[in-house]
């Protein structure tokens, strides 16, 4: 069973004061919670690294937790930031390798990142997904995306804005 928010808060408050025993329990509980949180979002092969990176961020940024507020929204925000950061890095850095990896090693991190982003984009209307791919992932300018998609520049901006807003909602669910 995973601890409730009140327990997390108590443990984190003690951890901020330097209580190592509470901190050990807290990180173990965070580990369990994060595995469940990420399970539906990423490929199993990428889960381990992401949970570890998030726990390290929890450790480094523990001063940013306000003991008067709920703990799990804070943990979810840290987890989401690490997840998106990992997706962005993997997608951009390994884009050249992606096509080969798709065939060679379907479990690799880069492939997982691409699959995760693609699966998210599939939940958007095609016009929104298309311009997000071009501008936010491929790095094209608004004008270039406009020329490629036959959408006006203002429509490209609106579709990116609406698409990202919808993605945020999907990610938080």
């Amino acid at each position: 069973m995973i601890a409730d928010d009140a327990t997390f808060r108590r443990l984190m408050r003690a951890s901020q004061q330097g209580d190592k025993q509470c901190y050990s329990v807290l990180l173990a509980e965070c580990d369990k919670w994060l595995r469940r949180y990420f399970a539906a979002k990423i490929a199993p092969a990428a889960l381990e690294d992401l949970v570890q990176e998030t726990l390290i961020s929890v450790h480094r940024k523990r001063a940013s937790y306000d003991p008067e507020r709920a703990f799990l929204p804070w943990l979810a925000a840290i987890g989401r930031y690490r997840w998106i950061d990992q997706l962005r890095k993997a997608y951009r850095n390994n884009e050249a390798e992606l096509d080969e990896n798709l065939v060679a090693d379907p479990q690799s991190e880069a492939v997982s990142a691409k699959i995760s982003i693609e699966s998210l984009l599939e939940k958007l209307p095609e016009k929104q997904a298309e311009v997000i791919r071009l501008v936010k992932i491929e790095g094209l300018s608004i004008a270039e995306a406009s020329a490629m998609t036959a959408q006006s520049e203002s429509l490209v901006k609106v579709n990116i804005h609406r698409g990202i807003k919808k993605l945020n909602t999907i990610v938080e669910e």
């Binding site: 951890s15 330097g18 990180l27 001063a63 840290i78």
Partner: protein
């Protein structure tokens, strides 16, 4: 109790994090506000020491436009400052909505009344608008306001580096906007012009430049 998590590429141990634990003070928004206040007062002191306050302020009878301008800049700086500092303590969007930190947009919309009024003046009486435009003095307005905002924004950025902002472009933009507003507020004690044409163009431009710098540079400095 030992917690080890292993995978093929490396070894990660929760116990190593536990061993590294040191007591920390949670970041304090009050401390952040205190930093903004001190830096703004320092900017105000520098304005007084170097270019002096405007005559009606020194005489104790400021014009209504001085109050309108100063009030709007302080309101905008405070609203965006609260939102910016709150970004250092991450939470999912629902939590943010509940805490009310998203209402800075209303302050921005209220502040936009200044440039909108200037635009209306331009349409109604172009000659009057151009006469009140004061392009030479405007350079001093821009340079002083933006310089003050750089110091205020720099201090806010240092504070933010202890936090964990999850939306870096928005955090940078809000810091720039808040710092720009307070920097312009400090300069407004010197600025002698009361015309809408001047206040609706040059002050928003100074705040806009600071906001742009914040959006462009700060995300790189607060990435974690």
């Amino acid at each position: 109790m030992t917690h080890n998590i292993n995978n093929s590429s490396n070894s990660f141990s929760i116990d190593a994090l536990v061993d590294d634990l040191q007591p920390v003070s949670p970041i304090s928004l009050n401390r952040g506000f205190a930093i903004i206040a001190v830096m703004t007062l320092a900017a105000l002191g520098t304005v007084y020491a170097t270019i002096d306050f405007r005559g009606d302020v020194m005489a104790g009878a400021p014009a209504p436009m001085f109050f309108l301008r100063l009030g709007m800049l302080l309101l905008l700086g405070t609203a965006t400052g609260i939102a910016a500092l709150s970004m250092g303590r991450p939470a999912i969007a629902t939590e943010k909505r509940q805490s009310g930190t998203i209402y800075w947009k209303w302050a921005v919309m209220a502040a936009l009344l200044f440039p909108v009024s200037a635009f209306v003046t331009l349409l109604v009486d172009t000659e009057l608008f151009m006469a009140d435009f004061h392009t030479v003095s405007s350079v001093k307005c821009l340079v002083t306001s933006v310089t003050a905002s750089l110091f205020i924004g720099g201090a806010m950025t240092l504070w933010m580096r202890r936090g964990a902002p999850t939306n870096l472009p928005l955090t940078g933009t809000l810091i720039g906007l808040s710092a720009g507003s307070f920097g312009a507020a400090a300069y407004s004690f010197h600025c002698p012009f009361n015309a809408v044409a001047y206040n609706g163009v040059w002050f928003p431009l100074a705040v806009g430049i600071s906001t742009f710098i914040g959006w462009l540079i700060i995300p790189r400095l607060i990435r974690w």
